[in-house]
């Protein structure tokens, strides 16, 4: 009994000390005032291995020094991360103190109550100094992190926008091409540049559930009939058949060997080594072509996502840090989120790592933003902002449907089946449609 009392007394003292420091040093984070109320705490934190998440690892010692909080930090691959966290959350486990809220799971995870509302944290001046400035986050990137009642469950660290990039623009120029503006121009170019100097003409990662829907939409199709209102899958349509035929043809004939096994990490390497040329990919990944260790930093080029027969629908995803409901020490978790998406760190990541896919208005509007995002003479920052602007078309609505993960799995399978010649597009999508409906029903949804 006495131990418990002493413990609570100590933590009480800790919080008064923190409060005191806020009073003395306005504008400073509570923990920076010398008292470290969470010293000795250990947090388990995980996100999928996005560039931001990997860079963050290098800054972690600073967080530990600042707060005394030790961090067990882990960044598995995208698919593995989602699988592990979904499983963990669905069982109410407490393995994670802070976890990334993956875009396609936002509705599922937040809707099921698996994350903690953060309003009481960021609105509480004792827990959050003014300089955190929750209103500074782009509204568009915060929308998926809220529930129907407007409560906030996460703070975004990336607006992952899909652009076009080329690792060997010199080859394209020699063959008389610029960056393609449309799907037709792209298709006309690839035969002329494929295997020139041993470089494949085209490449993209094998997360087809991410790369393919924009193509599907460009041909007039969509994943669901009318998301978010009518979430009946619409995978078996002539538009989708045509889109998949176009995409598989592009990859099988002009992509690198083994593209079906090429993950996003490998795709980044392929681009940095200059082994494949034109690529439709997320901005933070494409930017790596300009990194000091890249062999293509002198020859890379960037452009907007090309236009298909029915329009231009580049993918846009948002990821943010949240606190799982089962987390044991939520105040310490919040210390981490505050730091990891703080103005200071985002600005430094922009300057030190060239991280341009930021979510804070103040960073985007800073003069540094434009400077850092000039890569090999291309204004990637401008491409980024225009791509985000396109999202107002509402074409990303499909992705935050709470049963989208089931459809995503079916899209992955269908593209694999078609590309490996196991099924015609008609067969593959008919099967995908049936399975998606069965899976969604098994998840307890009435269609």
């Amino acid at each position: 009994m006495s131990t418990i009392w002493r413990m609570s007394r100590r933590s009480l003292l800790g919080s008064t000390a923190a409060l005191g420091s806020t009073l003395i040093l306005p504008g400073k984070a509570p923990a920076q005032g010398g008292a470290k109320p969470f010293a000795g705490t250990t947090l388990n934190i995980s996100s999928w291995s996005a560039p931001y998440a990997k860079w963050l690892q290098e800054y972690l010692p600073e967080f530990t020094e600042l707060t005394g909080i030790e961090v067990n930090y882990d960044t598995p691959g995208f698919a593995v991360y989602n699988q592990q966290v979904d499983l963990e959350l669905s069982t109410g486990g407490s393995a994670y103190d802070v976890a990334n809220i993956t875009f396609i799971y936002t509705s599922r995870w937040i809707g099921a109550g698996w994350f903690t509302p953060l309003d009481d944290f960021y609105n509480d001046p004792n827990k959050t100094p003014d300089e955190f400035d929750a209103a500074d986050f782009l509204n568009g990137t915060q929308l998926p992190m809220r529930d129907a009642e407007g409560r906030t469950y996460g703070f975004s660290w990336v607006a992952d926008a899909m652009h076009a990039g080329a690792s060997r623009f010199d080859i394209m120029e020699e063959a008389g091409f610029g960056m393609p503006k449309s799907f037709d121009e792209l298709m006309a170019m690839v035969p002329e540049i494929h295997k020139v100097k041993g470089v494949s003409a085209f490449t993209a990662e094998n997360h087809h559930g991410w790369i393919f829907p924009p193509i599907m939409q460009a041909f007039g199709g969509n994943v669901f009939v009318d998301p978010p209102h009518n979430i009946m899958p619409a995978l078996d349509t002539p538009e989708v058949h045509e889109a998949s035929r176009w995409y598989v043809d592009l990859q099988n004939n002009y992509g690198p060997d083994g593209w079906l096994a090429q993950t996003y990490d490998q795709t980044v390497n392929v681009l940095k080594q200059g082994r494949a040329n034109y690529c439709l990919f997320n901005q933070p990944f494409l930017m790596q072509m300009g990194a000091p260790d890249s062999k293509t930093k002198e020859t890379c080029a960037f452009a907007m996502y090309p236009e298909g027969p029915k329009g231009k629908f580049p993918g846009l995803a948002v990821h943010g840090w949240g606190i799982p409901t089962g987390a044991r020490n939520k105040d310490a978790s919040w210390e981490f989120i505050k730091w990891a998406v703080g103005k200071d760190l985002m600005m430094r990541m922009l300057e030190e790592k060239g991280y341009g896919a930021v979510t804070r208005r103040s960073v985007i509007e800073s003069p540094k933003f434009k400077e850092v995002n000039m890569v090999n003479g291309y204004d990637v920052g401008d491409i980024y902002l225009r791509t985000i602007g396109l999202a107002e078309q509402g074409h990303m609505a499909y992705r935050t449907v709470h049963v989208y993960p089931q459809a995503n799995a079916q899209i992955n399978k269908a593209i694999e089946m078609i590309a490996s010649g196991q099924a015609t597009p008609e067969e593959a999508w008919r099967q995908a449609q049936e399975n998606a409906i069965a899976d969604i029903r098994r998840a307890g949804v009435d269609l």
Binding site: D257, L260, M417, G421, R442
Partner: protein, 302 residues
């Protein structure tokens, strides 16, 4: 020595043995029987962890998961993939194991050393085997792809094509496990008695004939036992598939074990996955029963 003393010794020993055996069996019951019962019970429910109490005790339609599995194309496909993979690997492992056992069956320091070196693939952590083959099957780092390109036979990545992916896995699995069949057959070869062989030679049998009529019948039980062991263990194939293909492309390499894993740990269909695992266990036990019968028959023959 008084017989009374012996009796008391026996009684004391029996009591001691009971207490020696009991803890182990109790632990074994808790960690094997209890989970098995739980698995079968779960397979009769639509368990959903967001509502575990209600769904975990819902026995209103106990055979639903089994019915669904039998109607599920992916499940039936996974069984067929498993059959193909198991048969291909077992046959290859037995033939290669037998050939090498015959080649290495002689007493010499050199052969002894080679025999030991051949054990390596089998004892490597399966995940390391999977990594090794990931390297071999990744065109940009693979010595195999380079060599084939060099001699003018470039091949496309084997693990992403529907018609080669499963065989690529079979090759890797054979590489990992041929030492097992080789070892068992070698052990049996070393016990072949000399007399019948000498008699055959005196009768003018060619070496081929003496292999076919004398040696093979003698080592046949060992071959069957080795094959059955591999057959049973081939059902557990996981790391190779997890690292090399993830069951793809499409479902070409999705064996039943992997399918159950995906249903449980990717989609959280616990009841459904438990039903599949239960059927898998039933199949494996049937094979084990066969193994034991054959082994006992073999022992009687001796």
């Amino acid at each position: 020595m008084a017989s009374a003393a012996i009796t008391s010794w026996d009684r004391q020993r029996r009591r001691a043995f009971f207490w020696g055996l009991f803890p182990a069996l109790a632990v074994l019951a808790v960690i094997t029987v209890a989970p098995a019962v739980y698995l079968v019970v779960t397979s009769l429910t639509p368990l959903n962890l967001t509502n575990p109490v209600q769904t975990g005790l819902d026995f209103s339609d106990p055979l639903r998961n089994y019915r669904e599995a039998i109607a599920d194309y992916r499940f039936r496909n996974s069984v067929w993939v498993q059959v193909k993979l198991s048969l291909a690997t077992v046959v290859a492992q037995v033939l290669i194991g037998l050939g090498l056992a015959l080649l290495l069956n002689a007493r010499s320091k050199l052969l002894e050393a080679i025999r030991t070196a051949f054990l390596i693939p089998m004892v490597l952590p399966p995940i390391v085997v999977a990594l090794i083959w990931k390297i071999i099957y990744s065109p940009d780092v693979s010595p195999m792809h380079r060599l084939l390109e060099f001699v003018g036979f470039p091949v496309r990545s084997l693990i992403t094509q529907a018609d080669t992916a499963l065989w690529a896995i079979a090759v890797a699995d054979t590489w990992e496990w041929f030492p097992f069949t080789m070892l068992i057959i070698l052990a049996s070869l070393q016990m072949v008695p000399d007399e019948p062989l000498e008699a055959a030679k005196i009768d003018g049998a060619t070496s081929y004939q003496s292999f076919w009529y004398v040696v093979l019948p003698y080592i046949q039980p060992a071959i069957i036992v080795a094959a059955l062991f591999r057959l049973i263990d081939s059902v557990k194939a996981f790391p190779l598939i997890y690292v090399l293909t993830n069951g793809g492309p499409g479902q070409v390499t999705e064996v039943t074990n992997y399918f159950a894993f995906v249903q449980a740990f990717n989609f959280s269909y616990w009841g459904y996955a438990s039903a599949i695992a239960t059927m898998l266990v039933a199949g494996v036990f049937l094979l084990s029963w066969l193994l034991r019968r054959l082994d006992q028959a073999g022992q009687r023959d001796e």
